[in-house]
């Protein structure tokens, strides 16, 4: 056998140079490096908020649901509102990661990770509320069908049970989707970490090396998960809406509820993405990756879904009038001009009137403006659920049975706690995992580089 030409081999044995790290790796991973006192303060406040809510909840378990401001006939209140609100927040993340992926909208790459993380944390928050709401928490396992001494099965014809399945599926799929997207980025972090962090990233990255086989499987997986998550996200909020629409309470019993809830969820979710991402971009100087273009696109989504919400509000009123059903008519009249009129008008102004300013490009591209608007929309969306749930229940068929509900301090404490719980997860996420999907962004960066080379040649 002839040995290889000596010169070639000597040439090959020379150690290879170590190139500089890619810019995006350094930029995005710098977010996770170091801890500022502001971050520490926010985390402390969030943890205190969670602890106070845990105490309120423990007291409620001890005392019973009498602590909530329930007043006959209103027995679904702030806990259910929070549940619907937080589930809705999650929807924007799945829309961005699944639906925009299927539509090949590449601009989503920059905001995708932040939105997915938000989805996971929002669903983790939301799934607590049915349990808080049931009161006798030690019986919560009755929700799950399994062979038991009671010789009973759950009622598969109840929308509340559909919810159990829908929410748990949504939680699982969101976490899987989030994790699958993270694997290549955890590998990036692993290659640059030291000590304990390196060990943790090594385990979590599952030996990812970006081989042809791995990327091929990964692409397939993301495609399939997107395909599964798209109908799922539409079904989840539909099922949540049926919790109401399947009953005969005036104001709930409407066929428009499913699309109305889904549009509202995406609307509120996009607003929450903006509320979270605008400060993150500003604080961590990520303007090169999350540009005004992204915020403008999200503003367009908000404007579009706001129009759907506005249409749904109008359709509800129209149908109430057109149906000729007195109960419906009274219920809707009292929504706008009854004891809860203020919440209805907050909902209409925050969700339909203010977002109309986004028709004007100058507002759409002004980041401080869209931040304020997004906060208002979140308030509006919380009040939308307040209006749907409280006003409908408090004014049902017989005036003699009407009642007024005012949230108690314990419910508000748990409401504050839910925001703190969400923020706590998000703050921890910022310091442990990359906030921007680096590998997906790199695809665009390398693509641009290839094009630039071609033009030079």
């Amino acid at each position: 056998m002839t040995p290889p030409p000596a010169t070639a081999v000597v040439d090959l044995m020379r150690p290879t140079s170590v190139p500089e790290d890619s810019q995006i790796n350094t930029d995005v991973m710098s977010v996770t490096k170091g801890v500022s006192w502001q971050w520490g303060l926010l985390l402390t406040l969030a943890v205190i908020g969670v602890i106070q809510a845990v105490f309120s909840y423990a007291y409620q378990v001890y005392e019973g649901l009498g602590l909530a401001g329930y007043q006959a006939p209103v027995f679904w209140a702030v806990y259910i509102i929070n549940f619907v609100f937080w589930i809705g927040i999650g929807h924007a993340g799945t829309l961005i990661s699944a639906i925009l992926y299927l539509f090949r909208a590449k601009w989503r790459n920059a905001i995708n990770r932040g939105a997915e993380a938000m989805t996971v944390f929002a669903v983790l928050t939301a799934s607590l509320f049915p349990l808080i709401h049931v009161g006798r928490i030690w019986k919560a396992y009755f929700l799950i069908p399994y062979p038991n001494q009671r010789a009973l099965w759950v009622n598969f014809k109840s929308p509340l049970l559909w919810d159990v399945f829908a929410i748990n599926t949504y939680m699982m799929i969101s976490i899987i989707f989030f994790y699958v997207g993270l694997i290549p980025d955890i590998a990036i972090a692993r290659d640059r970490a030291t000590g304990f962090k390196k060990l943790a990233y090594t385990v979590l990255s599952l030996g990812w090396q970006g081989t042809g086989r791995q990327w091929k499987a990964h692409n397939r997986t993301v495609l399939h998960l997107a395909g599964l998550a798209t109908p799922l996200v539409l079904s989840v909020h539909s099922v949540v809406s049926w919790d109401f629409a399947m009953s005969i309470v005036p104001g709930w019993h409407a066929t428009i509820f499913a699309p109305y809830f889904v549009a509202g969820a995406i609307f509120g979710g996009f607003a929450m993405v903006l509320v979270v991402m605008i400060p993150v971009r500003r604080i961590f100087r990520l303007e090169a990756y999350i540009t005004d273009y992204h915020f403008e696109n999200m503003s367009r989504f908000i404007l579009f879904t706001s129009l759907i919400c506005g249409y749904a509000y109008a359709a509800e009123y129209f149908i109430a009038w057109y149906s000729g059903v007195e109960f419906e008519q009274t219920s809707f009249w009292l929504r706008a001009f009854g004891p809860y009129w203020i919440s209805t008008w907050i909902m209409i102004s925050c969700n339909v009137i203010f977002p109309q300013l986004l028709w004007i490009k100058r507002f759409r591209t002004k980041v401080p403006f869209i931040f304020v608007l997004a906060v208002l929309i979140n308030i509006g969306m919380w009040f939308e659920r307040y209006v749907i749930i409280i006003t409908s229940l408090s004014r049902d068929f017989i005036p003699g049975a009407w009642g007024l509900y005012i949230p108690s301090i314990w419910e508000l404490s748990i409401l504050v706690g839910s925001f703190c719980w969400f923020s706590m997860f998000f703050l921890l996420f910022l310091k442990f995992l990359p906030i921007i999907a680096i590998a997906e962004m790199k695809e665009l960066i390398i693509h641009d580089k290839a094009h630039a080379r071609q033009e030079v040649q």
């Binding site: 699982m172 290549p184 590998a439 290839a450």
Partner: protein, 167 residues
């Protein structure tokens, strides 16, 4: 047999190199890429990923489990309400659907782990942090006598570095 690691800057160059090498009968062991580029994955293996089988099996298992579970449980504890069937299909579609998605998603994840051989383990000797930066790597096994030839072939295909890996 010697193994050569070549480094590329652009995905198209790496993909061309893989296609050329495989066309000439060399055994391309591995490619490393910092981001998903289909041209490289296709050049390595033109068959579609097997993950799709996992999703299909998961989805079908889910839909069958969902409906069978509900129908069986309704019959196991029959309650007649308003003369309606114990097991009525329309409301069961929802949980049947949710379980389709749930098991489909879980099996897709397992498919990724299985097909992509993902589990915590030692990384390849050829792998380095440069492939999680912005460079592409192609590992090829060549006969002793072909080293020089493959080296110049790779360089002509705009490989910026070619090195011999330790055995």
């Amino acid at each position: 047999m010697p193994t050569l690691l070549s480094i590329f800057d652009l995905p198209d160059d790496a993909a061309t190199a893989i296609t050329k090498l495989r066309g000439r009968g060399f055994d391309v062991l591995e490619s490393y890429s910092p981001a998903p580029f289909e041209q490289i994955d296709e050049a390595m293996d033109e068959r579609p990923s097997k993950v799709r089988i996992f999703t299909l099996v998961g989805g079908l298992t889910g839909v069958v489990t969902g409906f069978l579970m509900q129908i069986w449980m309704s019959w196991e504890w029959p309650i007649k309400v308003a003369g309606k069937a114990y097991a009525s299909i329309p409301p069961y579609v929802i949980i049947g659907f949710e379980l389709t998605i749930l098991l489909g998603g879980i099996l897709t994840l397992l498919g990724l782990l299985f097909v992509g051989r993902l589990y915590p383990r030692r990384l390849d000797a050829a792998y380095s942090a440069r492939f999680s930066a912005e460079e592409f790597g192609v590992v090829v096994k060549v006969g002793e006598r072909d080293v020089g030839e493959v080296d110049s072939l790779l360089r002509s295909l705009s490989a910026k570095e070619v090195s011999l890996l330790d055995e």
